[in-house]
Symmetry: C2
């Protein structure tokens, strides 16, 4: 792990890769302390700032944490679910936002994956999950709610559904699909009629979850997917119309 030739990329990138491989490969175990920056600099034959840049790269991926003071240093980090969530959501949001992914593609993936949780969630959901869904539905029915708040509540409801499956790995994976949709959903302005329909479908989902009827949850999700896609299409069509009109007028 101490090797470090001078051929390809930046030194700090090479060092970061070497340490990352050691962590992933199990050579460095959780909570183990890395050598001090000075020692690493010596081992790799580079300066301390270079080592520091490498460590910051790893810290950015939550692979290590650093602690100041005597007997401080860099420690291999136990990746918490929360850290993993956040990274996954950040990456997914960027991927959807910057790569010209069509709304339909993202939507299809999101609902397909969410339906994968439907059966399990209907089976295992706790009273808490159901209560959260009901509460969010009530919130969504409030008249004065902003579009952003409506979308945030939408995400919270679906998260409760996913968490209901009682499988944290699945919750983690779904976070990227469900939460990363929020910016795309925010682009849609919801009329009162749209909201009523969405609330109706959400209620179907909650009812089905309460009845522990996985198929009904799945069916409601299919309906919601279709409605969401149709809604987005009409909004985008209207927007394109406006843009065209605006440009022709100028």
């Amino acid at each position: 792990m101490k090797i470090d030739p001078n051929s390809p990329g930046d030194l700090s990138a090479q060092i970061a890769a070497a340490i990352r491989d050691a962590i992933i490969g199990g050579d460095l175990i959780v909570d183990e302390r890395l050598p001090s920056e000075a020692e690493l600099a010596d081992n790799f034959n580079v300066s301390r700032p270079t080592v520091r840049e490498a460590l910051k790269r790893l810290a950015a991926q939550s692979l290590i944490r650093t602690q100041r003071g005597a007997f401080g240093g860099a420690f291999v980090n136990r990746l918490s679910y929360q850290d993993a969530y956040n990274q996954h959501i950040t990456t997914s949001t960027l991927l959807l936002g910057m790569n010209g992914v069509s709304f339909d593609t993202a939507c299809e993936a999101r609902f397909a994956l969410e339906r994968a949780c439907a059966t399990l969630s209907a089976e295992r959901r706790l009273p808490d999950h159901l209560a959260t869904m009901r509460a969010e539905i009530v919130r969504q029915a409030q008249p004065g709610l902003s579009d952003e708040a409506f979308c945030a509540s939408d995400v919270a409801l679906h998260r409760a559904l996913v968490d209901g499956a009682g499988n944290p790995v699945m919750s983690y994976q779904l976070a990227g699909a469900v939460e990363a949709m929020q910016p795309l959903m925010n682009m849609i302005t919801f009329t009162a009629r749209d909201r009523a329909e969405i609330v109706r479908l959400h209620t179907s989902i909650a009812d089905a979850a309460e009845a522990r009827d996985g198929m009904a949850v799945s069916d409601a999700l299919v309906e919601l997917e279709a409605y969401t896609k149709a809604l987005a299409q009409s909004v985008f069509a209207a927007r394109a119309q406006n843009t065209a009109t605006g440009s022709s007028a100028s």
Copy 2:
């Protein structure tokens, strides 16, 4: 975006967060050039090494790329699917490897999500995807194959199935579930009999995909999930037995 109080964490972390928010919030668009390190240092009233640490954090998340030379600098990166894949896989692998996630939990999540692709993949898979599956099945039937190679081939087959859905967002999301299982699968030593059974189930999947029968793909995945879980359980039980015997003998 230029604000930077001295209250909470490290300066480099704050600066990285500020720039990251600017990117995610759309204030910095793809391929836009950030100010030079010297300018950033000046704007944030910090030294250049501190700015560099912040930039390296962002580079580690593929949010920016840097280019040397005149008119080089840091540019907002368009997150490629490949970069997103890799990050997702790294994070997922660590999450599964370091958090005491039970094999059953990971397995359940993985197959539940994969079944979400089954219908779409059966519908849309191209000849290429089918050919890849068939080729991997042939490889898996070779007698001399190492366990690692067998698992890698297993992953390749499932990736082909997932990619067959023709939805890159879904492929990205599934990458974390499917590929991150590989280290866990590697912990299982496959007997010749196990391999034959797995190959049989893989063949069922490929046959169903060829017939464009989504339900059959899904059913085969259910069977494969059950078999994988049983296999893991027996392997872990045998290992526990050995450990107990070994410790009592010492």
